[in-house]
């Protein structure tokens, strides 16, 4: 009975996810499908960061750097900038690999750091990567600096491009629809990877290390390797998301990889429920879609009530967003949908 029920939920959610882009483009327009595509990218990013922050308990404020590494790898190897046009099935794994390498590069010097100190160094790392991308246009032009890289190849295989409107029978598929399925497939892959990890011996090792690294070390855990693994695996999924982002946008510049983005992804993890995969997915989806809804609501609302714009919608959005965060942290610090383990930790903290 329960397995039947599970199968039922699985089939139902599969059907919903399959028809979602068409329902949305039919009712709300293609712009909203695009927002959903971005939500999927952020789900991948948040799940990656969740490995580092949620599972291993290492606060990382520079996660966007791995997204940048994935994106730049894809763009440099698939655009007129260098005139190289490698296919996506090489550039995306390569970008993920580079990102993982950067993860280890970041992880190695910060092995002994904890808490705030770790956060500051990772924050610096994120900024260093961005500034490098911004300035690596001289003396040799590698990243094209602040102008960014244009005309990045879309994802294409066997003469079929996700970047073009495609007709299947009487069905019209826009790029936003095509990318949706591509992103969905990879998101599902990432979800499978992280949930397998969570329940593996490595997942247990991360919890053990987070809790008591001396006892963990006494159990035979190599703390160094287990930390680096968390950084590398987290970076890996950030790198995949980065490659997809570059292909989807067709243009990348250092601006896309600011500190604010890192904080946004961290907020998704924390607000959703650190260490809990469904919670993190929820956090990512809510924090991608809510600002877009606010964008559509704030302007007209002000015009309607005051007859003029008092607060610029962009600022009002951040204001409301900040307010929501404060309220959330006061009333529900464990997140919207926490895991049992985290719930127990927070309950302990309240008691003690």
């Amino acid at each position: 009975m329960t397995s039947n029920k599970k199968l039922g939920t699985f089939l139902a959610s599969a059907i919903v996810l399959a028809v979602l882009p068409f329902v949305v483009s039919g009712t709300l327009g293609n712009a909203w499908v695009r927002t959903i595509d971005f939500a999927l990218l952020y789900v991948m990013l948040a799940l990656g960061l969740n490995i580092v922050v949620g599972f291993a308990g290492l606060l990382d404020l520079g996660f966007i750097a791995f997204y940048a590494v994935g994106a730049y790898t894809f763009a440099l190897l698939g655009s007129p900038h260098f005139g190289i046009h490698l296919p996506f099935y090489i550039t995306i794994p390569l970008g993920a690999g580079f990102a993982a390498l950067f993860g280890i590069l970041l992880g190695t010097p910060v092995l002994k750091l904890k808490g705030d100190y770790l956060a500051i160094v990772t924050l610096g790392f994120g900024e260093i990567v961005r500034i490098f991308m911004n300035n690596l246009n001289a003396p040799i032009n590698i990243t094209n600096g602040p102008q960014g890289i244009n005309l990045v190849d879309p994802i294409q295989f066997a003469g079929f491009s996700l970047g073009k409107v495609t007709q299947i029978g009487s069905f019209t598929l826009n790029p936003v629809h095509l990318y949706y399925y591509m992103f969905l497939a990879l998101t599902v892959l990432v979800v499978i990877m992280v949930s397998r990890l969570q329940h593996s011996r490595i997942g247990r090792a991360w919890v053990a290390m987070r809790e008591d690294y001396i006892a963990a070390s006494a159990m035979g855990l190599n703390i160094r390797n287990i930390k680096l693994l968390a950084f590398a695996l987290g970076a890996l999924s950030g790198g995949v998301a980065g490659g997809l982002f570059a292909a989807f946008q067709g243009f990348i510049s250092p601006e896309s990889f600011s500190l604010l983005e890192s904080i946004m992804i961290l907020a998704m993890v924390v607000l959703g429920g650190m260490g809990h995969i469904p919670g993190v997915i929820l956090g990512a989806v809510v924090l991608t879609i809510a600002p877009e809804i606010l964008r559509d609501v704030i302007g007209p609302l002000q015009m309607h009530t005051f007859g003029r714009m008092i607060v610029d919608p962009e600022n009002a959005r951040m204001l409301l967003f900040g307010l929501a965060m404060v309220v959330m942290m006061l009333t529900r610090p464990e997140g919207m949908w926490p895991s049992k383990r985290r719930q127990a930790e927070f309950d302990d903290a309240k008691k003690g």
Binding site: R204, V207, S217, M219, G220, L221, I223
Partner: protein, 236 residues
């Protein structure tokens, strides 16, 4: 050849000598206790044995080999396992997960599962609480988890640091029963205790430590009968 051979061991924290040149040995299959007052250097000695604290002099041979160059996380693999003071269990992992951590360095999944089942046979209480977070258990149950976990890591020598600490007298009795049970399984153990009477009663041999030195040693029964031990540690 003894399983553990310690010669002239010295340990210093900064300028303070915590252990001032001690010699002791443990033979295979023995249960040996190290008793002494607070601050005598007992815990420091144990920590040094498993590489958590660096020695400043002397030598430690385990299983015929010098242990100087073993990294802390590799001691378990070599069969030297410590149950730290305060038990060192992972409160946010379930009982089952804690036991699985004991097999972290092992690669035989089936063997680990078999040993976990055996742990449940030894401590039926833990079987009942299998899926519970270990942090929610009572002190005695947590000690059971720590002992079961240590056995699953297949120690050649098990080091127990103050297993009775912070537990109610009734539970303490229970813990010592557990220690004897584990000893019967053929595990060699070094027990560090402040509860000298109980510790000596279950052990074959004992060492008495005072201000970083070993001042007395011998069969446990003799130490129990010794006038000085009775006065200083048994409160008689």
């Amino acid at each position: 050849m003894s399983l553990l051979e310690v010669k002239n061991l010295q340990v210093a924290y900064g300028g303070i000598q915590a252990v001032r040149g001690i010699d002791f040995h443990i033979n295979k299959g023995e249960l040996v206790t190290l008793i002494g007052a607070n601050g005598a250097g007992k815990t420091t000695t144990l920590k040094t044995l498993v590489g958590m604290v660096r020695k400043s002099g002397g030598s430690i041979h385990f299983d015929g080999k010098e242990t100087d160059n073993i990294a802390p996380h590799n001691f378990v693999r070599n069969g030297l396992v410590m149950v730290p003071e305060g038990r060192g269990i992972f409160g946010k992992l379930t009982v089952e997960e804690n036991l699985q951590m004991g097999g972290f360095h092992r690669n035989d999944k089936a063997g680990i599962q078999r040993d976990i089942e055996r742990g449940y046979e030894l401590f039926p209480r833990l079987k009942e609480r299998q899926k519970q977070l270990a942090g929610t258990l009572s002190g005695g149950e947590q000690q059971m988890v720590a002992m079961a976990r240590a056995i699953i890591s297949q120690p050649k020598l098990l080091l127990l640091d103050e297993p009775s600490m912070g537990l109610a007298p009734l539970i303490v009795e229970k813990i010592f029963e557990i220690i004897q049970m584990v000893a019967k399984e053929g595990v060699t153990m070094l027990l560090v205790e402040q509860n000298a009477k109980l510790a000596l009663e279950v052990s074959q041999r004992g060492y008495v430590m005072e201000s970083g030195r070993i001042t007395m040693s011998g069969p446990a029964q003799e130490l129990l009968a010794d006038e000085r031990v009775r006065n200083a540690y048994l409160g008689e």
